[in-house]
Symmetry: C2
Subunit: 384 residues, 2 copies
């Protein structure tokens, strides 16, 4: 695993809830150009409020993250807490407070255990190790069942650098954004310096195309930090790798959806525009009847028709609508075909769905997971 140059990090346990890793810091030797995208929920968590403030100048040098507590709905005190965490980290690392971005993920509405966290902030410097980002990827997990990492090595002028991404998130996920945290770090910079534009575009084609349960978290954050130690890459090269990492991480989030047994990849083709594709794509992937049918291996194509038809303001003529599961047309399928589809649904862990609308030329891909008893168990008994 290759880490971008100049980055140090750690993940450790400070006892916020149990004995798993719950506190981590990412630090760059030099000040990075940076951009971030946050939740659209009207009640953003305190770290989002502080993050929006600190990212304004487009510079970051450190990220400080705790899991097990989201610092959401904690009022003015919560916002002060997040500022104070940045301040302590800035002191410990001798950097500017506005160059620190805070993240918190976990339960809503409970004040942060500030004594533990501030003490850990003061000790931050001594725990930092070069690279070491896998440890952070583990420390940011909540109900995730596995670490989510994606990176691309890029060679230029005989030197090899990397764009390295990590993410967490498994529930309350319909990013716009969702309790999803994702950090993407690089020793390269895009030539134009337009990190914000490139990040936004990549997010629109990846994180914003996943839905696990239609709920939108109050904490979602995606951060891009570029040290530029290895110089610049042409925007198109940088973007291609950035988008590819963002999509890989998004698929990992969807596949690891709470209780999920399968990844669903839906491509809407022949849409009039992005808006139509998104409305119909989300209607399909948010339908609990479709998600349970796929879980049960049931080729219940009527539910797809229903889900397209319930987008009242986007009527698609019935004879223009085509639906494929694993490449097999399912509308009005006969018994033999249905059996084939059932076999496909039962056997595969990645279910490929294609829906053709016949309204235009736009194509867009979305990801989700099946809906199982595991989701119910996890969320009925995830205690506050």
């Amino acid at each position: 695993m290759r880490y971008p140059l100049g980055f140090f990090s750690f993940g450790r346990n400070i006892g916020i809830k149990d004995n798993t890793l719950d506190f981590s810091v990412i630090y760059s030797e030099n000040v990075c150009q940076a951009a971030a995208v946050f939740t659209r929920n009207n009640y953003p968590g305190a770290p989002v409020i502080v993050g929006r403030d600190h990212i304004q100048n487009g510079l970051l040098q450190a990220i400080v993250i705790n899991s097990k507590n989201s610092n959401v709905a904690t009022g003015e005190k919560g916002v002060q807490d997040s500022y104070q965490i940045c301040e302590e980290i800035a002191k410990s690392l001798s950097i500017k407070i506005t160059d620190v971005l805070p993240s918190s993920t976990g339960v809503i509405g409970v004040p942060l255990p500030m004594e533990k966290i501030l003490s850990a902030c003061r000790d931050a410097k001594q725990h930092l190790k070069p690279g070491n980002l896998e440890e952070v990827a583990e420390a940011i997990m909540t109900t995730d069942t596995r670490k989510k990492i994606a990176y691309r090595e890029i060679t230029k002028d005989k030197e090899t650098g990397v764009i390295f991404g990590m993410a967490k998130g498994a529930g309350m996920i319909e990013p716009n954004m969702a309790t999803m945290l994702s950090y993407i770090l690089s020793d390269y910079l895009p030539e134009s310096g337009d990190l914000k534009g490139l990040l936004r575009k990549a997010v629109d084609h990846s994180y914003n195309c996943i839905t696990i349960d239609s709920d939108t978290s109050t904490s979602d954050t995606v951060v891009l930090m570029c040290s530029g130690i290895l110089g610049t890459l042409p925007d198109e090269v940088f973007y291609r790798h950035l988008e590819s990492i963002a999509i890989e991480l998004s698929k990992k989030i969807a596949r690891d959806g709470e209780g999920a047994t399968k990844l669903l990849e839906l491509t809407v083709k022949g849409a009039r525009d992005d808006n139509q594709a998104t409305k119909i794509g989300k209607s399909i992937l948010n339908s609990p009847l479709i998600k349970t049918a796929i879980y049960g291996g049931d080729p219940n194509w009527g539910r797809f028709v229903m889900a397209v038809g319930k987008v009242f303001d986007e009527p698609i003529p019935y004879d223009k609508l085509f639906i494929y599961l694993g490449g097999i047309p399912v509308k009005a399928a006969d018994t033999i075909t249905k059996q084939k589809i059932a076999d496909y649904l039962k056997k595969e862990e990645e279910i490929v769905i294609t829906v053709e609308l016949g309204s235009g030329k736009t194509e867009k891909t979305f990801w989700s997971c099946d809906l199982t008893e595991g989701y119910i168990k996890e969320n009925a008994y995830y205690t506050t």
Copy 2:
């Protein structure tokens, strides 16, 4: 149980799928004034297409219903089948074909077993019994676990008549309308004769306020038939009873949601208008995180904040937002209060939720149910 005068009916098994009741007819001796409201899904079932045609003149004399097969997504042939069913019933009962309304509910995309159904239509007259509507309420069930009946006796000039309603529906339910069928019959007429206006208004305050799983069926139908044998009632009296029956049936549908263990009744208060109340109300009751939390008896109020906050275009200032469970304020509740709420959630079968927005004076009530493993099991293995 009192039935409206002049109505005859039956429910019987004709072997469409198994040996439960699957075919029923409601017949009135005289031609009734009638109105109906249908699904907004863009792919309505064939019976909905035929029903819209036959209700145009505001008159009905019979309803013919089969369960176990919805005759949806069955093309032009399906529509012809529904017309033919009406024709056979009209012949058997010596009434006009346009005075027959057909309904079908069950699996999507499978042609109706027409031989069985037409034969049953030809025999319809001999099976009719006076009143007998409980049998119909049973015959229209699919995944319902119980019959849904509500009626109000109304005495006028020493004679007592009745408005009698029945309904079925347990999944694919976010009526706008949902696989919900409901028939409301009376021996009274509203004075104004405006059945359509009264029915629409009642539906907006009842069936359109329930959601079980956010999916909108292709078959939803609510029919009102008034024989007028006992004369007229003032509109306000007729409406009051009609709405009360519609709400009672709606609650029964929500309570009987697939896998449900609890009825949720949410009142949104202090909304700016009906539209704001509906958007926020539906966002709360469609949130799987809220529905699983209530199932688990978890006083997870942060999820309510999240669900209000994810209605991006209706921002509610955080300090104006109040949330009550069983009358107990839950925002920032302390440990003792949380325990009280947990006890309430675990003990009660009807959970009362109140959300105050502080934006205006509109108040609206919505119904749903909790989300359990039972929903997953029922829908993962409900075979096509």
